[in-house]
């Protein structure tokens, strides 16, 4: 397993209203390994307080797949914040 103090870098992508609330299209998040989607979500709430509760209505995708909170993240993973979709 990973040694203490090691960190991973995750690219975060914001879309639609989440993008407006975060005030940016994307960011790099440094997380202490091992990290899950849930850990990333908690870090996002701290870094972007305006996103706050809005994250509750969003789904999260890792490397373009909808993912559960316990999914592990790796260095270089792409994490997308997906507000309720409204295509069509």
């Amino acid at each position: 397993m990973t040694s203490g103090g090691e960190t991973i870098a995750v690219s975060v992508l914001f879309f639609a209203r989440a993008r407006e609330l975060a005030g940016t299209t994307g960011a790099t998040l440094a997380l202490r390994a091992p990290a899950t989607v849930g850990d990333a979500r908690a870090a996002l709430t701290e870094t972007y307080p305006a996103l706050g509760k809005y994250l509750d209505s969003c789904r999260l995708a890792v490397d373009q797949e909808f993912s559960a909170m316990d999914r592990p993240l790796e260095d270089g993973s792409e994490l997308a914040i997906i507000p309720p979709v409204s295509g069509g």
Binding site: F15, R17, F66, I82, P84, G87
Partner: protein
């Protein structure tokens, strides 16, 4: 063929791509930009997408439809960017041996697209804008 496009959808080309002589039914659906929603007057809609994932989800929905209704051919196209009233935002075509599975597969595909393909509309009104969430 790209499933998420930023130029007008070529409906005839889409139909030609799936139609085949084993199909006795070619069913299409076009979603268009409507001039009203939830009591407000809409002047245009901006469609935004997480393009790579949207394409991937659309292709997955096509594969699921083929698995459920073997023998059909299906193509789903979604346009993004700013669309004016009446323009086609989404176009689906299913070619099936018989109309029953054609209609069923088409209904499944558009309903599933609306649940999980990462595309969002921002409605433009005469006096403001709003993100639409859920459908």
């Amino acid at each position: 063929m790209r499933r998420v496009v930023s130029s007008p959808i070529d409906e005839q080309a889409a139909v030609r791509r799936v139609a085949h002589t084993g199909a006795g039914a070619v069913v299409t659906f076009a979603g268009t930009v409507r001039d009203h929603n939830r009591g407000r007057t809409v002047v245009a809609i901006e469609y935004h997408a997480y393009e790579e994932m949207a394409s991937r989800e659309i292709e997955q929905i096509e594969a699921e439809a083929v698995q459920r209704w073997p023998g059909i051919e299906i193509l789903i196209l979604h346009r993004i960017g700013r669309l004016e009233l009446g323009e086609v935002c989404v176009f689906l075509v299913v070619a099936a041996a018989h109309r029953k599975e054609g209609f069923e597969a088409l209904r499944f595909a558009i309903d599933t697209l609306k649940q999980r393909v990462p595309i969002w509309k921002k409605e433009i009104y005469s006096d403001g804008v709003a993100w639409i969430e859920g459908s």
